[in-house]
Symmetry: C2
Subunit: 504 residues, 2 copies
């Protein structure tokens, strides 16, 4: 093979003589063979033509022979934007390698408009799908060569938390790794595949704060949230993340997002705690190879879920979590401890904006139960919301009253609360509304706790979580701090987003 041009000339003459057309030619430097691609039908004719042409050299051992490899396919990427773009070949071959496709031969001429690879025919469908996906060819804006280092963020909900989040993304410089491309509200959405500029995001936030809907704005499109999500997902996004900062039953949206290739970050507890959708969400994430991040659903920005995961990944066993995860009820029992009547404390909490419009939504303990269920699932608790013993602070007789009637009758509860608080104090304890979480059982309600313990000195609306583990057994690991509020909740969401954006 040392005189390649002579060999090549004779080989191609022989093929021309037989009228055989050639699709791909490859001869790597210093390699003593030439690879020629022909159709399967022409293979035998080509082989015999070459064998005849080189019969003397084969006889003398100068040339080893003619080998035919059947059952192969050629897959090529073609595009005028490829020339001069480093990274196209890397992405192409990485897609093939990830799909475990072996490459038999490769050719790319100097025009750089086409890279052809020969692969086993059986691998062809998988190879085509992998390459198609790698370049986002089924998506709007797909086919570009550059690799994006950032993640594209789609916000579901643009209330207080959503707006705090966009401000934090801008202020912290996080937009360089987490770029906001879409914002969805109940009425419609705003989207820009290249990223919504920080100034435009701030203007949208100002408009929302002033009571306007996204669909009513200049670049707003009217659509139901699911349609908005689907329209956005038609674009070739870079590692897209859907961030749910609503308080709605968004499970079906989240499932759709994961099926469409998005990771999900939640501040919204509802879809997690719902018995129908909660366990399903994790399963769907696993099936789709997506990540579901939930730090902000418990304790807002406090590192609660992350701490549980860190303990578990290092092989520790979280045996028990005691928590006061409600700022509203924390405030209430702090006031009771200071001698404030129950009704006065509830009304104060309401006027400070700590409660829902109907304070019974907080006093029922359901919010605490939801958080306890989310923690319980991380420990292996397999029950549902209905399996949790929840002690409501609203007597059954008052559950069906109107809002006004309830507030009017509140003082009727003062005397009995006063007695309980005094009895607790007499024993050196204080009352707390506590969630107790283990693998086996989750209980939510009022307990008396040592006044000189970390739970005893809890103040204001602070949350507290105490983790008793195999390693933190004598004394638990305790985390305390504000567990509600737009800024700290948004910070918890942003930490999750950056964890996803940083992971390759």
């Amino acid at each position: 093979m040392m005189g390649v041009p002579g060999v090549a000339a004779r080989a191609f003459s022989a093929l021309e003589h037989e009228g055989i057309s050639v699709s791909i030619i490859s001869q790597a430097s210093s390699e003593h063979s030439i690879c020629i691609g022909v159709t399967d039908r022409a293979a035998d004719a080509a082989a015999s033509a070459l064998a005849t042409a080189f019969a003397p050299q084969i006889a003398s051992g100068e040339i080893d022979g003619v080998e035919v490899r059947r059952g192969v396919a050629t897959i090529a990427i073609v595009g005028s934007g490829m020339a001069g773009s480093p990274g196209i070949a890397a992405r192409f071959f990485t897609a093939l390698a990830d799909a475990r496709v072996n490459v038999v031969a490769i050719a790319q001429g100097t025009s750089e408009l086409n890279i052809s690879v020969v692969i086993d025919e059986a691998d062809a469908p998988a190879a085509q799908r992998a390459v198609h996906a790698a370049f986002g060819l089924s998506k709007i804006g797909g086919g570009t060569g550059a690799r994006h280092e950032h993640a594209d963020v789609v916000l579901l909900g643009f209330g207080q938390i959503g707006r705090a989040l966009t401000k934090q993304i801008a202020d912290s410089g996080a937009h360089r790794t987490a770029r906001i491309v879409g914002i969805i509200d109940r009425t419609g959405y705003v989207f820009n595949a290249k990223g919504i500029g920080l100034r435009r995001v701030a203007a949208l936030a100002a408009a929302k704060r002033a009571g306007r809907s996204l669909s009513a704005l200049a670049d707003g499109i009217t659509a139901a949230p699911l349609d908005a999500l689907r329209a956005i997902a038609e674009h070739h996004l870079s590692r897209p993340i859907l961030v749910d900062v609503t308080a709605s039953d968004s499970a079906s949206l989240l499932e759709a997002a994961m099926a469409l290739g998005m990771d999900v970050v939640l501040a919204n507890k509802k879809p997690l705690a719902d018995e129908r959708t909660g366990p399903a969400l994790s399963a769907i994430a696993t099936t789709n190879g997506r990540r579901l991040m939930t730090e902000a659903t418990v304790g807002a920005g406090l590192p609660i879920i992350d701490t549980i995961q860190k303990l578990q990944e290092s092989g520790d066993d979280v045996l028990r979590i005691e928590g006061c995860p409600s700022g509203t009820l924390g405030y209430l029992f702090g006031e009771l401890g200071r001698g404030v009547p129950f009704s006065t404390a509830v009304l104060a909490a309401k006027s400070l904006g700590y409660t829902e419009p109907d304070p019974r939504d907080d006093l029922s303990g359901t919010d605490v139960a939801r958080k306890a269920l989310i923690l319980g699932r991380l420990l292996g608790f397999e029950g549902e919301l209905r399996d949790i013993r929840v002690q409501s602070l609203v007597p059954a007789s008052m559950a069906s009253l109107t809002d006004a009637e309830f507030l009017q009758q509140l003082p009727s509860l003062d005397a009995s609360w006063d007695r309980r608080v005094r009895a607790a104090l007499a024993r050196g304890t204080v009352l707390r509304y506590r969630a107790l979480v283990t693998k086996k059982r989750v209980v939510v309600g009022v307990v008396a706790m040592d006044a000189a313990s970390s739970f005893g000195v809890l103040t204001g609306t602070d949350n507290q979580f105490a983790f008793t583990t195999r390693r933190y057994r004598t004394n638990p690991l305790v985390i305390t701090g504000a567990g509600a509020g737009a800024a700290v909740t948004a910070a918890g969401v942003l930490n999750d987003i950056l964890k996803l954006a940083g992971a390759r």
Copy 2:
């Protein structure tokens, strides 16, 4: 060009006639050109031979012409292990793309022993270096095609923390992502590039616990730590991590490790707090594109440094950290608060193994100052250990006593401590040995703190850290728990290792 074989035959005949040898041939499928690589010297002759051979077709417009591209180089990867290995091409082209090298032409024949690419000559040195590094060709065991998903861990130090760490890695299943390949002690090392088996690691741990040195064991090699590190680094490791669980001045070793391409995880405070090496280490990490993880240096397994980083990355500003980061001094002041005399409490701490052999090493406050400095640096404090005001519990007059003399004279301190403790109690406070850390100043010493505060109810050897930030301003974010001990320290180290192993 439709009749490729005819064109090819004529082209190669023309080149053969001129005696021109060809290094690479490439024609991608459906592409209407053939790329032929010849030496620069032969380029003109080749071009004119081809122009002459195809003069009629060029004149008629059937063939566009002959283009010569000069100043190119051919780079090839060659190896008999390449055939049938998906991923070789991907790694090759990813290395070229990362080095921003544009690929002009590609050829790989069906023998799969050689991939040749033509690149601009100016890119050749960078391309060669990048490909060399990607396949670890300068390392023992380099040149393999498979991509490894795991990280290779080298342990520096195999005392209690190191042994707890290896046990946790085995028990938690972390060895699948973090494989122990080397263990270094003062006397030598054990190394296996394919990973030291879990059973062998356990046997090594048992031997060390029994007082034997690594160099004395069957597979132990005698070497100074730096030589051990260099010998290990000669191997082609997968994302190697050096884990320092010594208590020595290891800065020069850590610098060497980072220069050799290793990430570093520390449980060892010394090199970080040293004024000469501390800031240098971060700079060297940045220069070498390496990560330096330090969670276990403060509060052992408690998420202290991670929490600071999370607050900061979400744009919060950590204004002030108050901490009781010494279990020894925490125990001491707990006992004092219960009325135990100072000397009795110190001796009890010593007999429980809470103190160093000479309790003055703890009572001096230097250990707390080191931790405070590490926290301070994260907040932007630019001073050194000597800029920290440290209140020692050892009177100057007792600093130069022998160990025995010091213990004998301890009771002379009891009366004054008793007075201070009683005075504090009378004001509703308790004494704590506290570090106060801000951007501007770091102060370490005894203060009286509200008995009904989180610091006031701190018990046993627990550590506590309170972060006052722009967002956690009314009440700080507080983290409490065991801050020393082999198991929780190892867990902190393992969390850092897994963070590195998980990051791509």
